[in-house]
Every structure is written in C-alpha cells, then in structure tokens.
Amino acid sequence: MIATIWAWLTDPANWSGAGSIPDQTLEHLRLSFIALVVAALIAIPIGLYVGHTGRGRVVLVNIVSAFRAIPSLGVLFIAALLLLPRLKGELAFELPSLIVLVLLGMPPILSGVYAGIQQVDPAARDAARGMGMTGQQRLWRVEVPCALPLIFSGLRSSMLQIIATATIAAVVGLGGLGRFLIDGQANRKYDEMAGGAILVAVLALLVDLVFAALQRFAVSPGLAPAARR
C-alpha cells in the first residue's frame, strides 16, 4: 500500500503539465493566500477596533463561536448552488469557494486580534495614556506590538482552516491539492487520494512553519515566554 502511494508520489507523469502536483500545489497556495489576505483585511481592522474600544465585544465573541459550529462542507455547497448558475467561466468555480474560504478564515483572525489587544497589561495601557500617547499611538506602539503573538496564532489557525477548507472545495470544482483526493475518490484510486492527502498535510505543515518563522522575526523577544520570569 505504502509502495503504491510512493509510486504515485514519485511518478514523473504526476510532476509535469496541467493538473500536476506542482501545478495544484501552487494553485492551492494561491487560493489560500488570496483568501487569507482578504479575510485579514476585513477581520484585522474589526478586531483592532473591538479590542481597542471594547465596543461590540459580546457580538464579536458570539459570532466567532457561532461560526465554529457551521459545517464548512454545507456552506460550500450552499454557496456553490446559489452562485454557480449566476457566474460564468473560471469565476464560477472559484468565487463561491473563495467567499466561503474568506468567511471561514475570518473568525480565528477576529478572535486572535481581539484577544491579543484585550490581554495587553492594563498597567502598560495606563502608563501609555499617562505619558501622553494619543489613541492611535497607544494602538500602534503598545497594543498591537504586545498583541502580535496572539494575532499571529489567529492568522495561523485561519490559514490552516483555509487550507483545509480549500481541500474540501475541490468537490465543488475548485483547483488545488483537493483535486487528487476528490478525483481519486471518484476514480477509486486510493494511491492518488492518499498521495494527495499527504501533500496537503505537508503543505499545511510547511505553511505553518513559515508563519512560525515570520512570527519569531516579527514579535519582540521581550514577549517570548523565555523572557518572562
């Protein structure tokens, strides 16, 4: 069994041309990053606003936990059924899935940003205000840098959520590594399914590692657990 999966993974035929492993990997990454960027562009400002002002806290917390309960597969199918007949060409396959990816990617970022800003030491906030920082200065020079660890963990779980959902979205026609799983299933080819699954798992792991490295680079060493007593 492992031998057949290995054979599929190493078959040169699977490594070139349209729909090949590199092709689908790049496609998976492209779609995931588009979704992450859009989700972040929407979620980060909202999270910052709620965290900084404390307004709309209850609504945000409830929306985030409600979203967690919604099954991604069901939402994907709903979006596809609603939008497929109304769209044409490439867009018809991508847009419904992208909308769902963005939607499901937002809650982890929202809660990460909000929680990050919330947990900033009240004494540090108070000191920042007391030394004459304006609201904007406090937000960007104190609150956001201190919130970065949790903002990053929000971005990371968002990215994992998006990569996982993008895999499933192959069932409604989205490109990416999910194709191997779905097409392999349709053609009863377990080696292709398993090979695709391994590739997705490795991709998720590598992307997460890249984010972990970015986090190390971006977050002040003063906030690392080791710096605390």
């Binding site: 030491d121 004494a123 540090a124 906030r125 108070d126 000191a127 920042a128 205000r129 007391g130 030394m131 004459g132 920082m133 304006t134 200065q137 104190v142 840098p145 201190c146 970065l148 977050v219 002040s220 060493p221 003063g222 906030l223 710096a227 605390r228 007593r229």
Partner: protein, 368 residues
C-alpha cells in the same frame, strides 16, 4: 505649584468620588495623598494629568489651567509612575525610557543619551539597558518606571502607589532613592499611597483623605503625628504615633565613650559585662560576653547582633531604638559608620522630654 481648586468628581451613581477638594502641592516638594481605599486619592491624582476629567472645579499647574492644555500634550510634560510600573514588555529597558523624549520629538541619539543618564540616576547602569522588562525583578521594574517618568526632565511627577507592589526591602531602597533624587532634581511630586508610614517618610506635606473624597487634614508629617485633626485622622495615623513622631525630632543626647574590643584578638578583660566588638576600621560589629568567649580570639560566632545602630545626628527615635534594642543597655552611636560612643535610654528619654516638639512646645512645658 499644583493647585486644585474646589475639585469634585461625581460618577453617575450617587456619592462623589472626590468632593470639593482644594489643595496646593508646593513647587519642589513631595506632597502625599494618603487615605483608606475609596477615599478618592487615586482619582484626585489622575485628575491632575486629566486621565480623569473633574466634574467641577479647576486644576492649575504654575497658574495654567490644565483644562486649557490638550490632554496628551499636558501628560507629556508630567512624569507618571504607577503601581505595577506598566513597562512595555515588547521594548527593552532603554527603549522604554526613551519613549517620552521620542514622543516629544527628540532625536534618537539625544533620547538614548538621556535615557542612559536617567537609568544611571535610578541605579540601573550599563547592562540593564538591553534587557526586557520580563527579565527584571519587581523593584528593578519600578526603577525603570521612575526612570521613564524622569526621562523628559518633567518639573512635575505624579506617582500612584509606586512602591506598593514591591517587597519591603526593595521598597525601603526605592523610597530612599526617591528622596535622594527629588532632593537633587527638585521635582514637584504628588504621590498617592495607602501606607501612612510611607506618607510620613516621603512627604513634605501629607493630605489625609477620608471616604467620599473629602480632605481630613493637610499638614506636615510631624504635625500630623502630633496634632491629628480628628478621630478619623488619629485612627488612621495609628496608635504608636507618639513614638513615630520622634523620627522628626532631634536633640542633644550625651554620648558616652565606649572602650571597644577588636575582632580576631583575645580579650584582655574578664567578668560578665557586655563588651562591644569592632572591626579594624572601628565599625561596630556586635556585643560579646567575656564568659562566652574564654581565651579564644573574639570571633564572629561570639557576636550578639541584637542592637540597632544610630547615627550621632540621627533622630531621637533612632537613638532611643538603639538604646532599647542593645543587649547591654548601651545604645551604639556611629559617625559615618565609625563608633562614636554609646547612649543610655534614660538620657534619651530625658532629651525627648526636653526636645522642642513640632508645634514649638515641649513635654516639660506642659507640666504644672
């Protein structure tokens, strides 16, 4: 000078937090606001830099109504130190201290030079600058907090329970350093504490506030101890205020010569009288009993260290304490750390009777 004029802070629900408070904090002095929790002391302090806006009344700093100055602008000119220091965990000690000068538009190099200067001033030289707050002890963090407040050389500094969260030994050191710094820099300080001992130690003037933010008494620490305005103040100042008031009184006390014995040498005298052991530089080390030492050289294991040591020009409280705590009954007195002689409790007590009290009277005057 900071002047609070009929300042009131009223929150929505009923009783005011601060009620019609009028107070002057003198330039170059430490003014302490003290009182039980809920007395509005922190609210009063935070109204000075407009962290809280008063409901009515005015606050003037050197004649300028603070309501006329934009709040952020006002705060940049006022040092602000709070209980848990509130250091920014993502910035090094150096960058924490550079914050306010940078906010005030100083260049990086100038701000850094200044930051290193004040860090030196608060006793955190060199290597500390590169550390992060998480790597410091509570006392060290509070020192950085003070340095950060001093960095832009403010003429006014507000301190809200600055030393309350620090362990007692570190607190003592921080208090002494604050007194020294304030003496050197002449900063006008308003400090909030719930600890009456701290208030008495640090304040040139002490304002005792009572529940509901009303001023109970505003006077010098000595006067507070000698003449509490009412039961509330008397109760708050505490039972042994008569003894503590001695901290502010000095008087001539006879100092008797003391023939010490050097550490590390055998005794030349016998008997059961207590003898004072000193080191090579004549600094008192402790008391010994000849019977316990025998023929051996006087060693550290023979020392009884019970007694406190007072300075020749110390307060009557320190002198009395030295006499009372000494196992020999002879209180050790030093001049610059070197043995000057000993005092007797009864003579210190006589001096206390004769000493002028803060209000100019003496205990003897009151006798018929």
């Amino acid at each position: 000078m900071i002047r609070l004029e009929a300042v009131t802070k009223q929150y929505d629900e009923g009783t005011p937090a601060v009620d019609n408070l009028t107070l002057e904090a003198g330039t170059g002095e430490i003014t302490v606001l003290v009182g039980p929790s809920g007395c509005g002391k922190t609210t009063s302090l935070r109204m000075i830099n407009r962290m809280i806006e008063p409901t009515s009344g005015r606050i003037l700093i050197d004649g300028q109504d603070t309501a006329q100055v934009p709040a952020a602008r006002l705060r940049r000119d006022i040092g602000y130190v709070i209980q848990h220091a509130g250091l920014f965990p993502h910035r090094t000690v150096l960058h924490n201290v550079m914050t306010v000068p940078r906010l005030n538009g100083w260049g990086r190099a100038r701000a850094e030079t200044r930051a290193r200067e004040v860090l030196e001033l608060v006793g955190l030289p060199g290597d500390f600058a590169r550390r992060y707050p998480g790597q410091l002890s509570g006392g060290q963090q509070q020192r950085v907090g003070v340095a950060r407040a001093l960095a832009s050389d403010p003429s006014v500094m507000l301190m809200d329970e600055p030393f309350s969260a620090v362990d007692p030994i570190a607190r003592e050191g921080l208090q002494d350093d604050l007194l020294r710094l304030q003496g050197e820099l002449g900063t006008t300080i308003v400090l909030v504490t719930h600890d009456i001992d701290e208030a008495i130690k640090l304040g040139h003037r002490v304002a005792v506030l009572r529940q509901g933010g009303r001023l109970a008494q505003f006077s010098s620490p000595a006067d507070l101890l000698a003449h509490p305005a009412d039961d509330f103040v008397a109760d708050f100042v505490g039972r042994d205020r008569g003894y503590r008031a001695l901290s502010f009184q000095q008087h001539e006390v006879p100092v008797h010569p003391e023939e010490p014995v050097p550490l590390g040498q055998p005794l030349t005298r016998r008997g059961d009288e207590w003898l004072l052991a000193v080191d090579e530089e004549s600094r008192p080390q402790g008391w010994v009993v000849p019977g316990e030492v025998g023929d051996a050289p006087v060693g550290r294991e023979h020392l009884h260290r019970g007694g406190t040591v007072a300075s020749v020009d110390g307060s009557l409280r320190a002198l009395l304490d030295a006499a009372l705590s000494s196992p020999s009954g002879r209180g050790v007195v030093v001049r610059d750390g070197v043995l000057a002689g000993t005092v007797r409790a009864e003579e210190v007590l006589a001096a206390i009777q004769a000493a002028p009290r803060p209000d100019g009277t003496s205990i003897q005057d009151e006798r018929p």
